[in-house]
């Protein structure tokens, strides 16, 4: 517990809230009359302000306070939602996230944004902006810095406050620290002795604090006990007569919402129209939001990683148990081993499930990106998303964000034509950008499709030749040519814009996708658009594997990539006859001899087996000595000493405790193809 940095917790929470806010704002743009969205945005702001203040992010909470005040007009129906408001609010949202990183970030810009926001909410009555002179001081005042002659504070802790560890004496001490105090305890609520619950708090206190103390300082005293307590704070008007302040007076200083906060529970985040009766209004929505909140739980990512590691170890231990049970042949032991095997594999699936995140969690930020780009470039864009529910391992999702930003940016900037050009071409002036994600076997395919001009193969070729990536006149397959745009420094943009064209970025895409052991495909039809498809492995943690033996060593092949296993027809000696294809029901499938690839030294088995695997769209046979069987494979990353070996995607520990390497089918096929090409080139040379 104690090693968690509280500001880090705030940052995480803030990131979520900011995202909620952004989504709500973007949705509001299309559905401006949706009161629920307004409420959602307001609640996000409100919570953000509260926790910002609590964690000492004063600049953030002050800024949000103004933001909230402006937005409150929308919530109350005094201002309408329009494009201007959304734009200003989005700017404000950006400013908030910058402030969280750097509290001193450009205050002038902050003021400008707030100004714009105010004008936006002032609606038809533009005059109101006159009545509000400057940014920060626009608020009726007391909240930030009024230092009255003193304060009258009346507070009563929640009944269970003592049980929860609050100590009213400390609060009183703290107030004494602020200035001279007169403290009167109000014991009127104390029940008769026989009804007293010793752990309950019954007392209320009236404190008259004299001296020029800031309101905030008083608020701070109650910062951590504010929930559910009754608290009224009023300025002391000069030589005010002393006496218990009537609770009814609470209603008096209520004009601004931040004050309402002190009387209501911090949890409440009212959805009702106006918090005239905070407590009553709070009761119901609080109940529903609580239930919703219980449905999900925030868990630090490293704890999930740790859990996954433990499950991994369990799977390994279970494999050992199964192997032992098999050798001992004790039926009761076999029973237990099978039971444990079943439990482990369901535990494995559940644990992996907790790491899966819906792809839709990424869509949000792309909507914003598309919206901003569309505005900046003056290209109206219809952004369509599909497959929000497609789940991916969280580490994969996290790493995907950046590459996708680059691809989307590229599609909008280079792919989609300007509206007038589109109109001339007879296309809808608004371009369409479609982002979709779907499962395909053990892979996830993510496609970004635009209906723009398509890639210009000629231009790419010219550029590739200039950059020396291919020699002039060399014949290159279209797919390969298109993939060149992912080379570092490669850009066909004749004009460098602020967005793209510098050739930085697309190589980031390639590097990240390679790092995730995925692949990129580009499809383009001139004049009709481009589709970039990213294929990624579903998970990076545990997979089902097929254990094989090559020479004296054992290797695991990801089962999801395996299509079938056949026997290598006797007498096929590929090298000698210059062919390495097997006939699979009339189809020729090339095969690779893993023995020679891995330099196996002992005698090959007489009957060689072929494991047919598919990668991307090609099928390849891997020739092995023996197929041992299925196993659950916990993927362990290889150290940096071995990370250069692309033939292996990792290693795993087998039931007998030895390590087996996991074959990376995709790269292995590439490796095999290279060897093939080299041999073909050699034979050509010989022939020449």
């Amino acid at each position: 517990m104690s090693n968690i940095d509280p500001t880090e917790v705030f940052r995480q929470e803030a990131a979520d809230l900011i995202e909620t806010l952004e989504q709500a704002l973007l949705d509001l743009e299309t559905r401006p009359d949706d009161r629920e969205l307004v409420g959602l945005a307001f609640r996000a702001l409100h919570t953000l302000k509260g926790s910002g203040a609590m964690f000492g992010f004063t600049a953030v909470s002050e800024f949000i306070h103004e933001f909230e005040t402006a937005f409150d007009r929308v919530r109350k129906g005094e201002a309408a939602v329009d494009g201007r408001l959304i734009a200003a609010a989005l700017d404000a949202r950006d400013h908030v996230s910058r402030l969280i990183d750097d509290p001193d970030y450009d205050p002038e810009r902050g003021q400008a944004i707030l100004g714009a926001l105010k004008i936006a909410v002032s609606g038809e009555a533009k005059a109101s902006q006159v009545s509000e002179p400057l940014g920060t001081s626009s608020q009726p005042a007391p909240a930030t810095s009024e230092a009255a002659a003193g304060w009258r504070i009346r507070f009563k802790l929640a009944t269970d406050a003592l049980t929860l560890g609050s100590n009213p004496l400390l609060l009183l001490d703290e107030m004494r620290g602020l200035g001279p105090c007169e403290i009167v305890a109000d014991a009127s609520a104390v029940p008769p002795l026989e009804e007293i619950e010793p752990q309950h708090s019954y007392l209320a206190w009236d404190v008259t604090l004299k001296g020029p103390v800031e309101r905030e300082a008083v608020d701070d005293v109650f910062l951590f006990v504010r929930d559910d307590m009754e608290l009224t704070i009023e300025p002391l008007a000069g030589d005010d007569d002393v006496g218990p302040a009537p609770v009814a007076a609470v209603q008096a200083p209520l004009p601004a919402p931040p004050k309402a906060e002190t009387t209501s529970t911090a949890e409440q985040q009212e959805t009702g129209p106006v918090a005239a009766e905070p407590r009553a209004a709070a009761a119901q929505p609080a109940a529903t939001t609580k239930a919703e909140r219980n449905a999900t739980l925030r868990v630090p990512a490293e704890r999930l990683d740790e859990l996954m590691d433990r499950v991994g170890e369990l799977v390994i231990a279970q494999a050992r148990l199964s192997q032992l049970a098999e050798t001992i042949h004790d039926p009761s032991l076999v029973n237990v081993a099978e039971e444990i095997e079943r439990l482990t594999s369901s535990l494995r699936d559940t644990t992996m499930g907790t790491r899966m995140v819906p792809f839709g969690s990424l869509f949000g930020r792309f909507r914003r990106l598309v919206r901003d780009l569309s505005e900046d470039l003056g290209k109206p864009i219809d952004f369509v998303t599909e497959g929000e529910d497609t789940e991916l391992d969280k580490t994969v999702i996290e790493q995907l964000a950046d590459p996708l930003v680059h691809i989307i940016r590229n599609s909008i900037d280079h792919g989609l034509e300007r509206p007038d050009t589109r109109a001339e071409l007879g296309k809808n002036p608004a371009g369409t950008l479609r982002l979709s994600a779907k499962h395909r076997g053990a892979e996830v395919a993510i496609a970004i499709r635009d209906d723009g001009a398509g890639l210009n193969a000629e231009r790419i070729r010219r550029r590739a030749e200039e950059a020396g990536l291919i020699s002039a006149g060399q014949s290159v397959a279209d797919g390969e040519l298109y993939r060149m745009i992912f080379q570092p420094g490669f850009s066909t943009a004749t004009q460098v814009t602020a967005l793209s064209g510098r050739g930085v970025g697309m190589d980031v895409v390639k590097r990240t996708i390679d790092g995730l052991r995925g692949s990129i495909d580009i499809d383009t039809v001139s004049g009709q658009g481009t589709t970039v498809t990213l294929r990624l492995p579903l998970t990076l943690a545990i997979i089902d594997g097929l254990l094989v033996r090559v020479g004296a060593d054992r290797y695991t092949i990801p089962l999801a990539a395996v299509e079938e296993c056949v026997e290598l027809p006797e007498g096929i000696d590929a090298e000698a006859r210059g062919r390495s294809f097997i006939n699979l029901r009339g189809e020729l499938v090339p095969f690779l001899k893993l023995r020679s690839l891995f330099g196996a030294e002992n005698e090959p088995d007489r009957f060689q087996k072929v494991v047919v695997v598919s990668s991307e769209n090609t099928r390849v046979g891997l020739v092995v000595d023996q197929i041992i069987g299925n196993n659950q494979t916990v993927i362990k990353q290889l150290s940096s000493l071995h990370s250069g070996l692309k033939t292996f995607s990792g290693a795993t520990i087998l039931g007998d405790g030895t390590v087996a390497l996991i074959l990376d089918v995709m790269h292995l096929v590439g490796f095999g193809q290279k060897i093939e090409e080299r041999r073909r080139a050699e034979t050509l040379e010989k022939a020449a």
């Binding site: 060593d553 290889l638 150290s639 940096s640 071995h642 250069g644 795993t652 030895t658």
Partner: protein, 159 residues
Amino acid sequence: MTQAQETNAMHALTIRLQDEMFALEATNVREILDPVPITRVPNAGAFVGGLINVRGNVVPLADLRVSFGMDRPPADTDTRIVVMEIELDGEPMVAGILADKVYDVADIEAASIEEAPKVGMRWPAEYVRGIGRRDDDFVIIPDMQQIFGARANPAANSN
């Protein structure tokens, strides 16, 4: 930390490779194992040609004898694997080191440690951090960062 150790004495685990005594920083040593099954990594080169299972973790096994151009006889009853932490490009990493024999933990006086001579040494100078003395024997203090750093980016790996 290393500064302090160097000024006083180096707390070292001494091992034998071929006929030479080597000193490994004892604080980085995690454990010493009897020989375990080694999984060969094809195309990885001789220096880190294997992987071993250390308590459920896959750990690369390095053979310093390759770096120092020594003979590599098969494992015998004295052979051990020293599991230790090595910093590689600023990242800590655990690796196993094959030792022909493990002697003991000893303090090597800082005063006795000399820089590796630039000439007249059979070993690549960049791999030797210093040469200490223990009783009447020389002890080679290998520079693990250099040795592993040179292998971390195996350009030689064809694939």
